[in-house]
Symmetry: C2
Subunit: 314 residues, 2 copies
Amino acid sequence: MNFADRLMEKIDQKQSHVCVGLDPRLNQIPENIKDKAIKNYGKTTEAVAKSFLEFNKGIIDAVAEHTAIVKPQMAFYEQYGYWGVKAFEDTVAYAKDSGLLVISDAKRNDIGSTAKAYADGYLGRPDFWEGETLVNKSDSLTVTPYLGSDGIIPFVDSCQEHDKGIFTLVKTSNPSSGDLQDLVTKADSRIYEEIAKLVVCWGEELIGERGYSSIGAVVGATYPSEARTLREIMVNNYFLVPGYGAQGGSADDVIDCFNDDGYGAVVNSSRGIIFAYQQKRYSNDYKEAAKQAVIEMKEAINNSLAKEDKLAWQ
Amino acid sequence: MNFADRLMEKIDQKQSHVCVGLDPRLNQIPENIKDKAIKNYGKTTEAVAKSFLEFNKGIIDAVAEHTAIVKPQMAFYEQYGYWGVKAFEDTVAYAKDSGLLVISDAKRNDIGSTAKAYADGYLGRPDFWEGETLVNKSDSLTVTPYLGSDGIIPFVDSCQEHDKGIFTLVKTSNPSSGDLQDLVTKADSRIYEEIAKLVVCWGEELIGERGYSSIGAVVGATYPSEARTLREIMVNNYFLVPGYGAQGGSADDVIDCFNDDGYGAVVNSSRGIIFAYQQKRYSNDYKEAAKQAVIEMKEAINNSLAKEDKLAWQ
C-alpha cells in the first residue's frame, strides 16, 4: 500500500496526528538505565547504544497507542559511531514490531548516483550478495533539496518501487531558516515556494487512494503564515511539522498545516514528550510522563482542529 | 594547527592538489577480495564491510604518496547499516595512520541543536560517560546550507575548538544543481552567490597563517564559469572540487577554482581512480591502476596550473 495511505490508515486508527521524535540525549536518560548499561558493557559506545535502545523501547511502549508514527533523529545516534547506528536500527525494528510507522530523520542529500546509495539504503534494496536481500525497515526518510531534482529523483523512485515515503525540507522550523529559504526571486516568489512547486512535481505520480502523495514536505510549526501559503501550493502533499512544544509552536499554530479534510500533517514533538519526566507537571517516571505528554498533545491538536471544524473523526 | 594550514602543508609535501574519493561499490570490488570476505563472514553485511576495508586499504597504500587528502563518501557505507559505518570508521583510521587528511563526505545538515550533535560526532566531542572522551578521527566534513546560519554555526564552532574544517555546498557538480542554486534573487544575485557570501562570514574567524580559512566550499568542476565568480567572492576559502573525470570535468576546467598563488582548491576524483583497473588504459591490478590514475591526475592539474603560471612549486 502507498505510504501516504498507510500513514492515514494509522492516523485514523490512533485518532492522532502526533509524531514522536526519538532523539535520545545521554545526559537526559534516566540514571538507572545508564547504570545498568555501564555495569554490563563498561563506559563504552556499546553502553550508550544499549541505554538508548532501552530508553526508546520504554517510550515506544508508552506512546504506541496514541501516535501513528515515530521519528528517530539520526544525528543523536550517529555521533556514537557504529554502535549508535546499531541502536538506531534496533529502535526502528522495535517501533515497527509495535505497529508504528517510522520516519528516519536523516536529511540526506547528494548528487544522483550517490543519492541512489542513500535511497537504496533507507528505502530500497542496496546492491548485495547474490541470492541475499538487504531491507531497511523504516517507512520514510527526510531529505534536503539543495542539489535540485537529480538529487531527489532517486529517493522518489525508491518510494514508488517499495511503497515508501520522503519528506523534503521546504520551510524549516529554526530561527535562521530564512537565510536561504526566504530569499525572494526575480519572479517575486520565495525559495521555499520554488521548492514547494518542485515537491508537487516530484510527488505527482505517487498519489494514493485517499488523495495524498507519498512525497511529503517539512514545514515548521514556527512559521504559520508560511505554512498557509505552502498548504495552498502543496495541496496533495503530506506535511511533517517540526517545531511543536520545545521549539515554540502551539496546537493553534499547526492548524494551517492541515487541509479542510482534517488530514495532511503529522506534527512532531521530541524533547517535549520523551523528556517530559524532567518537567514538574508530569510524572517523574519517564514512560508515564511520555504517555501523559503525548495524550495531552494529541488532544490539544484534535481540539484545535475541532474548533476550526477540521477534525476528521466526529 | 588550523585545518587549512594542515591541508596546505600536506599539499606541499605531496605536491598534489588531488583528493581521492573512497566510494566503494560492491559490484566493482575485485572478486578475490569479496571471495575471501564471504569465506570468512558469509554473505553478510559484515562481509561487505570487510571487503570495503580491504579494498580501501589497498587504494590508500597505492595513492598515499600522491594525494594530500581522501574523501570517503558516507552513503556508500551507510547503506549497509552499522557494519558499513564500522568500515567507514576503520577506513578513516587507516587513512590517518597513513599520514593522510580525511574529509568525511556526509553532507550533514539540521537545525542548531541537532546540527550540534552531528558536529560533535564528526568534528568535536560527543557527550559521553564521565571521565571518557570520544574522538572522531576525520579532519573535516561536508555540510549542506539549506537551513541557514544556525544550522552551520555548530560546525564552525567545532572547527574552531578542535582545528577541524568543513566544506559547505555552494555550487554542486550535478546536472540539476541549478534548480535551486542558480535561481536569481531580486537583488540580481544567484543563490550560490548568496551562500558564498555566508561562507565568507562563517569563515572569517578561522583564517590560518597562510591566509586560508578552515571553512571551505564545495564548487563543482563541471561549472567553470560559476567557479570564477565564486573564487572572487570566497577569496580566502578553500574549495573542494568534485566532478573531475567520471563526471566530465577536466584539468583545465578546474584551474579557475585556484587562486593566483596556486592554492585554494583540492580536486576530487572517486571512480576515475579507485576503479581505474576496469579501464583498458590502466593496469588490471586495482592498486597499480589507482596509482597510475592518481599520478596522471596530479600531473594533469599541475601542468594546467603551470600553463597559467599558477603552479606553487617551481
